[in-house]
Subunit: 316 residues, 2 copies
Amino acid sequence: MSTITVPAQVPSVADDCEQLRKAFSGWGTNEGLIISILAHRNAAQRKHIRETYAETHGEDLLKALDKELSQGFERIVLLWTLDPSERDAFLANEATKRWTSSNQVLVEIACTRSSQELLLARQAYHTRFKKSFEEDVAYHTTGDFRKLLLPLVSSYRYEGDEVNMTLAKSEAKILHQKISEKAYNDDDIIRILATRSKAQINATLNQYKNEFGNNINKDLKTDPKDEFLAVLRATVKCLTYPEKYFEKVLRLAINKLGTDEGALTRVVATRAEVDMKAIKGEYHKRNSVPLDRAIAKDTNGDYEDMLLALIGHEDA
Amino acid sequence: MSTITVPAQVPSVADDCEQLRKAFSGWGTNEGLIISILAHRNAAQRKHIRETYAETHGEDLLKALDKELSQGFERIVLLWTLDPSERDAFLANEATKRWTSSNQVLVEIACTRSSQELLLARQAYHTRFKKSFEEDVAYHTTGDFRKLLLPLVSSYRYEGDEVNMTLAKSEAKILHQKISEKAYNDDDIIRILATRSKAQINATLNQYKNEFGNNINKDLKTDPKDEFLAVLRATVKCLTYPEKYFEKVLRLAINKLGTDEGALTRVVATRAEVDMKAIKGEYHKRNSVPLDRAIAKDTNGDYEDMLLALIGHEDA
């Protein structure tokens, strides 16, 4: 569920563009005005604003924002204003270029989006970068990481609810056996995680727990420093409990000395219209502090205001 | 270019359905009438006929055909009548269940279709089989075959004409080095073939030939009995010269003792509306005999008539 609030009476797109233009003009930029408009429009409305702005002023709204804003505030406004599929393509492209630390971003995009959303991101990638998403992932990764990430980002999973319990049992057994042998990069582990439907994977992992006692991610934590195991765990988490996955990303970003603005911005921009309500619930439960209070404590200025507006903080 | 002929004045869809119904009724089936209609309607028209037939007679046309027809003739009529994406999903599903001999069918579907067509086939696969294409491919294959086939069938290649010559040179070198080492299942060979755009692969393989003297497929033929090498060669051929690939499939199917009807039917049904004109040209050049004469010599009855109608034989 979305956390943004859209006014009952939305101004006309022309009015919104006019106000944005005003926010950019004169001495200094009116950041509050920008937030009051963009943070309170849904994806379809923002898209319409961007199109109309380009027609009216002969300039891409993103370019105008890029000229006017800076730092953390700029990034959240730009990411937010992008169409979700373009945003995913943009984040994916960035992630392919930064080795290891960004594998989780790739997993996130591959595993928390619907099949259709991932496909739209791949199409947006073609349009923007004149190559394919999987091509860049394959080119910039190696070894086990490539073996896992390439099928993940190329997947077009079946999304029905049907579950084959016989298969769930046999594949739970395969997973357990391979993990016991520490064969974490085994073909079958990757095949199951990369190609089965989320419903089927869920059934398999429930079976794993019933049969072998542990949550699979516990068994995948034998070496906390192993990057590949971390990516495997992120894959499992993104496929089965995306809101818990994102809670943890936010927790680590906020608890870090100095705040990981990149992660905080990414999660808020990509989840505000999707499942931020559930993520906030998880965050509060896990940290005994509401997410908006944690963000307010850790950030400031326009950046803070924009984040709070997107996660539905009352005063924003 | 398509080889089917559609009459200048196409009867109304209602008339076509009426005539088909007539062909099924009474004692015996009027196969000639069925051919005269279905073989001379394009994909959109056939789809419309199927929809109208179901509405009018409360039965799927494919089911009616299935009841009335048999053997080779039945299969070509059914495959032809299917929507191209449903047909690909159907052939793909069949191929996943038959080991090795059908790897080439999977390569064919993955590498000779456009990115959009492959995607539509994957969507049709969900609808019809309640699972994903890549899931079945991954489940039914192993080892090197899976390593190659899974990314091939999951690809969504960029389709622009842009070519990066620096990359073509460096990747030609990688291919040559790995092939020299007989590391045919090397990660990079598979990455390049499975993720680069067809234009880029073409540039790379031209570079390969310029730099190292041989056509890459010649270097991939060190052991003619090696199934994996055969699949690799099919991949290269499908990506770069689909009409030559299909000419060879037809040649082997026809020259075989007893005719490989499965292959003949598949190629005619899937290519008649795509590039059958080019395939016929290649066939004539390579065999010094026109394709229609070769087919007429090797087949008979309604099956022969339907094949000839689809490849645009004048009397059909």
